[in-house]
């Protein structure tokens, strides 16, 4: 029986607790009375994955079975989530590949010849051939990639974009032309957190900047409370309007999957366990890893962490019409990640790990670390934030990984030029966003290399807009002071120093909540 998530109150018997901090972790002594929120244990995985996939395709929600939607001579496009999901990358075989195998088999049986597979990466970086192969599997890759039938979506390929129309709020809907003009568009998703999936899959994953700019902006982000609660998120509302418009033009068959919390493989599984339940072996592993990481150069630590593959188990698969499918998906996600918490606290503590959606095989630069802490973790709530308005967020990350110029060229300019002028998302957006979005060099790198789109760092900063609007102070424990200052935050050497600094904002006896994350958790704050 899987144990649910729970809230621990730190007392004198509580051992030091594990906190993620970039390419490492620390064991931290929290003040007595600190609430520590643990995610639920992993749900049991579905044993017969192939059977579950087949069942979902043959018994979809609010849709005809997939085989009935397929016919000879049709134009079929299959879109898949890109490498930003799941985190860390799933151990082979990836669930998307297993679904593709069955979908393609059904298509072949129905005599469908015109099939193309698109990685729906929106403005993310292009996936390498090896990354595509890992996701779709060897057989699909060999059958489609050499013929150019498996490729990355290109949001700057004007010839292959179609302006579908305007939503009732006047938002442009422009997506991949091949997808928009297909007889059937199948989307295969990995719904790692509640934010993913639904109309966000096609409406954003296959869209262009012209479309995405309507919801990826500071104003919308501030009113997305939270991103993990799509019914209270302005960003999702916009994506939903767009998705419905797309649905009027092309038939979308949505396949959504949910995973359990088996994020770290052995021998790193102690990272997911509750500290007082660590076995001798777990304690030895933790000690050895701490010692090893302290001695290892950054490159080696980077390789060690980024080579990890998640042992995820499938907890659910739903197919059919986008909205009812997504409702079921969200229920599954909540079942795995939701934890009830009573009331807000003065201080929320988040350990920012080595990996986020935008630094797979790359470095967690300061902007991405801020996005991870203040964007993703801060927004991992239902109802209200874990920390009260005017409270303090304490984040753990060294902010010292620098920038990967292959993947994040525009981030460097954003950090050096834009953040030097202002850290206010409402100020920098109007002044700089267009320049970065239309910079021909960034566009060239996005289209031909493996660079995130020029506008991407703005989006990362917008992700933090709600937190910046809500919080009174942001303090990085162990963070590089220069980097923290550049972002308008502060840095402290230790938790005690951070609490001392925070006392000016929240007093000397603040209530503290630490979200023990990852694995993923969703705080349902009553």
């Amino acid at each position: 029986m899987t144990r649910p998530g729970f809230v621990l109150e730190v007392d004198d018997r509580t051992p030091p607790l594990l906190v993620q901090e970039g390419l490492g972790f620390r064991l931290e002594d929290f003040p007595q009375g600190t609430r520590v929120v643990y995610p639920p244990e992993s749900l049991p995985a579905i044993d017969d994955v192939e059977g579950a996939i087949r069942d979902a395709l043959l018994h979809p929600v609010d849709s005809e079975p997939l085989p009935e939607l397929l016919f000879p001579g049709m134009r079929l496009t299959i879109a898949i989530d890109d490498l930003s999901l799941p985190l860390p990358t799933m151990k082979a075989p990836d669930i998307r590949g297993r679904i593709l195998e069955q979908v393609l088999t059904m298509a072949a049986e129905k005599g469908v010849d015109d099939v193309e597979i698109v990685a729906a990466l929106a403005l993310h970086r292009r996936m390498t051939a090896a990354e595509l192969k890992h996701v779709v599997g060897e057989r699909v890759f060999r059958s489609f990639y050499p013929q150019g039938k498996l490729y990355n979506h290109d949001a700057e390929d004007r010839d292959n974009l179609l302006h579908v129309g305007l939503t009732d709020k006047g938002e442009d809907v422009e997506i991949n032309k091949r997808a928009a003009t297909s007889d059937l568009l199948i989307y295969v998703n990995v719904n790692l957190v509640a934010m993913d999936g639904g109309h966000k899959s096609v409406g954003i994953g296959l869209a262009s900047y012209k479309s995405i700019r309507h919801h990826h902006n500071a104003k919308t982000m501030v009113h997305s409370r939270s991103f993990m609660d799509h019914k209270h998120s302005e960003m999702h509302s916009s994506a939903w309007r767009m998705g419905r418009l797309i649905g009027e033009n092309v038939k979308v068959f949505q396949i959504e999957t949910t995973l359990n919390n088996d994020v770290f493989p052995k021998p790193y599984d102690f990272l997911m366990k509750r500290e007082w339940e660590w076995s001798i072996k777990d304690q030895a592993s933790a000690l050895a890893m701490r010692r090893g990481l302290a001695l290892a150069p950054q490159k080696l630590r980077h390789k060690m962490f980024h080579d990890l593959r998640g042992n995820y188990g499938l907890t659910g698969i739903q197919a059919g019409a986008v909205e009812p499918v997504h409702e079921l998906t969200v229920q599954k996600v909540h079942q795995q990640q939701r934890v009830k918490i009573e009331g807000q606290s003065d201080i929320a503590i988040f350990g920012v790990p080595y990996l986020g959606p935008y630094n797979v095989a790359s470095s967690m630069n300061p902007i991405l670390a801020a996005c991870m802490g203040l964007g993703y973790y801060f927004n991992s709530y239902l109802r209200q934030p874990v920390v009260r308005e005017g409270g303090v967020a304490i984040l753990y990350h060294p902010l010292d990984e620098g920038f990967n110029t292959l993947h994040h060229p525009s981030y460097v300019d954003f950090y050096e030029e834009v953040l030097a002028e202002s850290t206010d998302p409402h100020v920098i957006g109007p002044k700089f966003e267009q320049q970065f979005a239309h910079d021909p060099w960034y566009i060239h790198l996005y289209r031909t290399s493996h660079a995130y789109h020029g506008v991407h760092p703005f989006y990362m900063w917008y992700w933090t807009a709600h937190a910046l609007d809500h919080l009174g102070d942001v303090i990085w424990v162990g963070g590089d002071r220069g980097a923290a200052a550049r972002m308008g935050h502060r840095a402290a050497s230790t938790l005690q120093d951070a609490l001392e600094m925070a006392s000016a904002t929240v007093g000397s006896s603040p209530s503290i909540t630490y979200l023990h994350n990852p694995p993923h958790l969703l705080a349902d704050v009553r």
């Binding site: 300019d413 050096e416 030029e417 320049q435 910079d439 060099w441």
Partner: protein, 395 residues
């Protein structure tokens, strides 16, 4: 009279060149080919010449280059050792000089062209391009491209020197000595701005925010229709001054290429074992440092067909970009009579920004020359733009 004299000393020059970079104190100590001496006062025996009593004389980057042995030996043929350095001079006439009575406060255009040398004007001087004079090694005075590099005339780093009427420009009463001291560098900056060939709206990069870079920025902003002027400043106070002098944007040296790329939408390339460069970039780049790095930055940040202006003695650089991108490489040296540059400079030093800058001039008496040169070598770091000698001072 008391004077600082530059002497020929191969060991000192070699030592300064070899170790001065790593041990800066050598440049004003053991390796300095300079000495404080008592010399006979120079005599003004020819028509048109007069004696000057030095009020202030600035220390220029070219003086420091010469003293540290980093100046190219190319120039050894156009100087006459030993000489008294100092070519940024504000002084007082000790004798009547044609239309100028004794006691007149003047600034000196240091170029020793045909008129001063008492020879028939060369083609350049006939055109008024006195800075391009071909007769700088002959005539009435010993070889020397300028006052301050010529044995016979003396230089500003002394109590007295001689100068020809063609070199003299009276200073209006409203200007302080410190403002007048900046007239010569401002005249050079005006000439630089003219040589830059700016078209309306051109985007300009000024690499360096010392005196040369700042004054060039001012001249570009005040006298041309330049659009965006991006200035490279190493130190915080230089950045503030650059904005005051007309820079649209100021960047640190390591950010230059990235910022130019961003501003111009250029493409950036990374050659093997070499610094990155742009395809595209600014219309005009101005090297106001004179180092290899600065010149290469200018070459690498200028668009194809653009112009790179050398406003200081240039360092050695890879000129591949000049060939490959068909860049115009333009030198700019001193200033020309034709353009009435000194008259315009006398007006421009009245600009508020220059007036404020003049108040930061750091004056030293001649006997504290080692401290003065130390200060000048580290001027940027110490928050100073101009260091000068004031022979009237005793402490």
């Amino acid at each position: 009279m008391l004077a600082l004299e530059m002497v020929r000393s191969v060991p000192k020059t070699v030592l300064g060149k070899a170790a001065g970079g790593r041990i800066p104190m050598l440049l004003t100590g053991l390796a300095a080919p300079l000495r404080l001496v008592t010399l006979d006062s120079p005599r003004a025996e020819r028509p048109g010449w007069a004696r000057l009593r030095v009020l202030m004389s600035g220390i220029c980057g070219s003086d420091l280059g010469m003293l540290s042995g980093s100046t190219s030996l190319y120039f050894s043929a156009v100087v006459s050792l030993p000489f008294v350095p100092g070519h940024e001079i504000v002084a007082e006439l000790m004798d009547d000089c044609e239309d100028l009575p004794a006691g007149t406060r003047v600034v000196v255009d240091p170029v020793l062209a045909c008129a001063a040398r008492g020879v028939e004007p060369c083609e350049a001087c006939i055109r008024g391009e006195t800075n391009r004079c071909s007769r700088i090694t002959v005539g009435d005075v010993s070889p020397g491209l300028q006052t301050g590099f010529c044995h016979d005339t003396g230089g500003g780093w002394s109590e007295q020197l001689v100068a020809h009427r063609s070199q003299l420009h009276p200073v209006p009463d409203g200007l302080t000595d410190e403002q007048a001291l900046l007239v010569e560098p401002v005249a050079c900056a005006i000439h630089t701005a003219a040589r830059a060939g700016i078209r309306p709206g051109d985007r300009v990069l000024v690499s360096g925010a010392g005196a040369v870079g700042l004054l060039a920025t001012l001249a570009l902003r005040e006298l041309t229709d330049a659009g965006e002027i991006l200035v490279v400043a190493k130190h915080g106070h230089q950045a503030d001054l650059a904005r005051e002098f007309g820079a649209t944007e100021v960047v640190r040296p390591k950010e230059v290429l990235r910022r130019v790329r961003r501003a111009t939408g250029a493409f950036q390339l990374e050659p093997e074992f070499g610094p990155p460069y742009l395809l595209g970039g600014v219309d005009v780049a101005l090297d106001a440092v004179g180092s290899s790095g600065s010149l290469e930055t200018c070459l690498h940040a200028t668009r194809a067909g653009g112009r790179v202006v050398l406003s200081g003695m240039p360092g050695k650089a890879d000129l591949s970009a000049a060939w490959f991108r068909e860049l115009e490489l333009v030198g700019t040296y001193a200033s020309a009579h034709r353009d009435d540059t000194f008259t315009r400079a006398l007006e421009l030093v009245g600009h508020d920004a220059v007036a404020r800058l003049s108040k930061t001039v750091a004056p030293y008496p001649l006997h504290r020359w080692r401290e003065a040169l130390d200060h000048a070598h580290s001027a940027g770091r110490l928050g100073t733009v101009k260091v000068a000698f004031d022979p009237r001072r005793t402490s």
